[in-house]
Amino acid sequence: MSAGARGLPSPDLSTRVGPLRLQNPILTASGTFGYGLEFAERADLHRLGGLVTKGLSLEPLAGNPPVRIAETRGGMLNSIGLQNIGVDRFLSEVLPGLKDLPPKVIVNLFGYAQDEYVRLAERVEPYEGVAAVELNVSCPNVSKGGIEFGHDPEILSRLVRRVRSATGKPIVVKLSPNVTSPQALAGAAKEGGADILSAVNTFVGMAIDTATRRPILSTIRGGLSGPAIKPLALRIVFDVAREVDLPVIGIGGVETVDDVLEFLLAGASAVQVGTALFRDPRTAERLVDGLRERLRAEGIPSVDSLIGAAARPE
């Protein structure tokens, strides 16, 4: 271990998330970092722990009509509608540019039917550059599909089991916060064979234009993200990590080093940064530096020692 500034040892930022070994616990969240390469000129991709792609479907999707976003206090609503280039174009055009970078590439998959998830998993299976698949079973912005898989434990369990049989890659299940008991869905994902949970997707919300007296978003409802949801997401990560024996990636309003620490202490093994990237494209790498500095300053040797500390008895 090398000696850092002020003679203190450089902390170990690496973290194990189930079968995944990451160089640090900072990932970028699906739908907030494009496919990765869009950021190459604005952010240092090399320094991230991992990146999660925009949700990919079998066929390209055009997405929802405008208006797709509405800013709210402490965050934003979005209703993009899973616009994406399709899994095949991603694998042939984008993945080659990402696969040799240090961050692990996690491919977010989205289908309208169980079969589609299975076919997507089969499609990415041969690609070594794909470190894991994240199942989007909780997108609030499509009229059918996605969300129903994430709201019923039996359906979710069956879906994960089918994907399990199609891939040897680690399976991440992204949980919806828009349910009574995310823990129950987390348990169902584990039963189906998931390796990792990511929590949480956006919260369903809406905004109204007082001048026109109409909902701002074309789909009326959208997903709320940003600092506004952090305490809500943190609570879910805490409950899920305590009750379900699977590693958790925390998501929801992560923007500062304290946010990262809170999620780790709540039981997350890593975090995904999302909406904060829109405000500042360098947020993720800034957090990597900030986390290292904080651990060094406080004499904390590794990320590992923090994970779940808030759930342990005093």
Binding site: G31, T32, F33, G34, E38, F39, E41, R42, K54, A62, G63, N64, P65, P66, V67, R68, I69, A70, E71, R73, G74, G75, M76, N78, I80, Q83, G226, P227, T275, L277, F278, R279, D280, P281, R282
Partner: protein, 275 residues
């Protein structure tokens, strides 16, 4: 061409008749913007509003130290623009840019590579939309291409940069046409009515470029199509990031698809947008 994300130094906020303001920012390593391109900016160290705001580069000047001084013409309409109008000289604010696709067909005409893009141009601005046409008017004037500048607003206070556009258009060999809905400056009425009259009476425009409220640009597109004139519009939508990551700024095209205002736009051909 790479957009650069950096901290710009606020030089001043020039007082214009309320609610307008002109913010000048020195950015150390930013490439000059093309006409129609924009930057994402926010007030200094403010937690709210959460997202940056998109601003056309209204004017720019390369300084001798290699930095670029950009001018952003704004109108206070909400929390984001309030924060920018409240900037103090010396403050450092985030500036990401230049972003997007500008007035490319017109630019091609100026550089001589697009043979059909010569002749008289009409620039049509609605109120603060004039911010999106500042660099274009300068480029036309520099290239010696004559243009008429149509400037419309609710009242005289909305034609905040009228003198600048009068000077540029007259130097190019064209003129400034003003209208206001309340009749406090220029003809009473809509600027699109004035444009239509000119097009009908054979002003001989070969290009129409516009920036303003959606209804105005839609009307300009209709007038241009009826008069057989090609043109472009600098569109505006709510933006999350400004650089293509959030996919939030969809513009609906006539072919039924969507384009991102921040990447394929903000400038689109008048005949490709589903107005």
């Amino acid at each position: 061409m790479a957009a650069v994300d950096s901290r710009g130094e606020v030089l001043d906020v020039q007082p214009l008749p309320l609610p307008y303001f002109l913010l000048r920012v020195r950015v150390a390593a930013m490439e000059a913007a093309e006409p129609g391109q924009f930057v994402m900016v926010a007030g200094a160290n403010r937690p709210e509003p959460y997202l940056r705001r998109a601003f056309s580069v209204y004017d720019q000047e390369a300084a001798s130290d290699g930095s670029l001084v950009i001018s952003l013409l704004g109108k206070v309409i909400g929390r984001g623009t309030e924060a920018l109008a409240a900037c103090v000289p010396g403050e450092r604010i985030p500036v990401l840019g230049p972003l997007g696709t500008g007035f490319h067909s017109v630019a091609a005409g100026i550089s001589g590579s697009g043979g059909s893009e010569s002749g008289r141009a009409a620039l049509v601005a609605g109120g603060i939309g004039s911010a999106g046409l500042g660099l274009l008017a300068q480029a036309l004037e520099r290239s010696g291409r004559p243009f008429d500048f149509f400037y419309g607003g609710r009242g005289a206070e909305d034609l905040v940069e009228a003198e600048t556009f009068r000077r540029l258009s007259e130097r190019s060999g064209g003129r400034l046409v003003k209208t206001t809905e309340d009749g406090s400056a220029g003809e009473r009425g809509l600027i699109t009515t004035a444009l239509e009259a000119e097009v009908r009476t054979g002003a001989g425009y070969t290009t129409v470029c516009t920036c303003g409220p959606h209804g105005l640009m839609a009307a300009v597109a209709g007038i241009a199509a009826a008069g057989g004139v090609a043109g472009e519009a600098a569109t505006e939508t709510p933006m999350g990031c400004g650089y293509g990551a959030c996919l939030g700024c969809a513009v609906t095209l006539k072919n039924g698809g969507y384009a991102l205002c921040c990447r394929q736009g903000p400038v689109f051909r008048l005949d490709e947008v589903a107005w």
